[in-house]
Amino acid sequence: MAEVLVVVEQAGGAVKKVTLEMLTLARELGTPAAVVLGAPGAAAAVVDKLAEYGAATVYAAEHEDLDGYLVAPKAAALADLVRQVSPAAVLLGSTQEGKEIAGRLAVKLDNGLLTDVTGLAADGTATQAIFAGSTIVTSRVTRGLPLVTVRPNSLTPTPAPAEAKVSAVEVAVDGSAKLARIVERVAEAKGARPELTEASVVVSGGRGVGSAENFKQVEELADLLGGAVGASRAAVDSGFYPHQFQVGQTGKTVSPQLYIALGISGAIQHRAGMQTSKVIVAVNKDPEAPIFELADFGVVGDLHKVVPQAAEEIRKRR
């Protein structure tokens, strides 16, 4: 069977969930082969995890330059590998970096590209949800191989242990790929919460939360459910919560098992980022709030009363 390349995404040294999802998907299409693009040592740290999810080969493309510049060197190394191994398909995460690498790869290989794919069949037919999730599209790459970016949380990753063979890839980065230099990476305090787009539970607060201080109630419920915290744009614009947690049209797209919207009206631009969630729960004091049209369970009431009581009840049940 032909190889399906899965470009590995890492965060803080660990393999991101979307990579495990892609390995799971790749098994339906061919033989999964993981590609690690990073500084020397990057592959060794993750081989076991990749093998656990079925990677038959781990291509280790390692070079300092892959880490020191914005995506261009990674795209160059990946293009070289694709030319060498002629895979059946190439999968990347539909994340900022995944899309950026894919865009460059498409130009380099003169190959079609589909982004934000939620499903991919063995014949290369892809499924995408567009226009705020209101329209479902099936599409295919008509020139070249299926080159797709896969939206996180589109499927459940399942282990399928394999003997991963590590194959070192020669990396030669020329000057034209080294124009955007990363001079500093600043880590910002991040609690133990899962990453927003990968979390299976997301608890979001809107303008109705009322203040930055009150967002503690949102965080508390999220922590009790092992979830991530999100926010509406109105909450972000009001300074209640940082921008990187914004869900919606101009924020993150999430697709968790459970989405809880607290004090969020449910504007179309907010729905754009959450409407494909499995189960949706809403708390809003306005019985006419549009969020109730899509909530599987809604509580009409003051979130400042309902949320602390819910937190208390969860603790009681432990």
Partner: protein, 264 residues
């Protein structure tokens, strides 16, 4: 500094949006069309750089005749002039074709700095800046929440951005020429003044066809697309479920629901 801002006209994300049933392309005919919101932040950033360092700001759009409205709207914020690539053969172009056309059009202006939005609300593809950089052999600094320009006196500059990542942020630097894409956290776009709106009517807009750019029609549009929509359908709208009014036990009821779904 010679700055070009890429502006795309998109169907309003707050209104109903559809694909056409005949050729599966975005229905721009029946939609309310607006400037891609993120591009207004790119225009604002360009104007601030011009105010600090001088030079010229040009708006570049590829789109049908109607996209001219968005060009006037963009010009009313303050840019000096515009270039509009318009050609019937462009209908149905994918990101690859669009980047080919925009790269060729940029070649006619020869900018030091290209500014654009981080993504558009219709495609949300987020690939345009890197595709352009790849084609033009220049740097791409993407997803900027902050941009600093240090001019070098010889017309060029060193650009430094901050971009948000999942772990924190990255500081990335490049020399001009470069393309920089911006998020809506970078600034607060100005509203066009009455004077600006009047002045925009008289600002020069150059229209370019594919022939002007030397691009064969077969390489763009539906015919030249590298991917195709096979079919599309409206997702059945979600059905609202149970709704309870809090009578002092709303939190408990909520948890009972979560428990019934095995979340607690």
């Amino acid at each position: 500094m010679n700055i070009v801002v890429l502006v795309k006209q998109v169907p309003d994300s707050g209104a109903e949006r559809n694909l056409r049933s005949d050729d599966n392309t975005v229905d721009r005919e029946s939609a309310t069309n607006v400037i891609n919101e993120m591009d207004e932040y790119a225009i604002e950033e360009a104007l601030r750089i011009q105010e600090a360092h001088g030079g010229e700001v040009t708006v570049l759009t590829m789109g049908p005749e109607r996209a001219g409205e968005s060009i006037r709207k963009a010009l009313s914020m303050g840019p000096d002039k515009a270039v509009h690539v318009v050609d019937d053969a462009l209908h149905g172009s994918d990101a690859l074709a669009t980047s080919k056309v925009l790269a060729a059009a940029l070649g006619t202006v020869n900018p030091d700095l290209i500014l654009c939005g981080a993504e558009s609300t219709d495609g949300r593809v987020q690939v345009m800046p890197h595709m352009l950089a790849e084609r033009m052999g220049i740097a791409a600094l993407t997803g900027a929440r902050k941009l600093t320009v240090d001019t070098n006196g010889a017309g060029g500059a060193t650009l430094t951005i901050e971009r948000q990542t999942e772990e924190g942020y990255e500081v990335v630097t490049a020399s001009t020429p470069a393309v920089v894409s911006v998020w809506d956290t970078i600034n607060e776009p100005r509203y066009p003044s009455f004077k600006g709106i009047m002045a925009a009517k008289k600002k020069p807009v150059t229209t370019l066809s594919l022939a002007d750019l030397g691009i064969p029609a077969a390489e763009v549009g539906l015919a030249g697309a590298y991917s195709a929509v096979v079919e599309h359908a409206k997702r059945p709208p979600r059905q609202g479920g149970t709704k309870v009014v809090d009578e002092g036990d709303g939190g408990v009821k909520l948890v009972e629901f979560l428990a019934s779904e095995k979340f607690v």
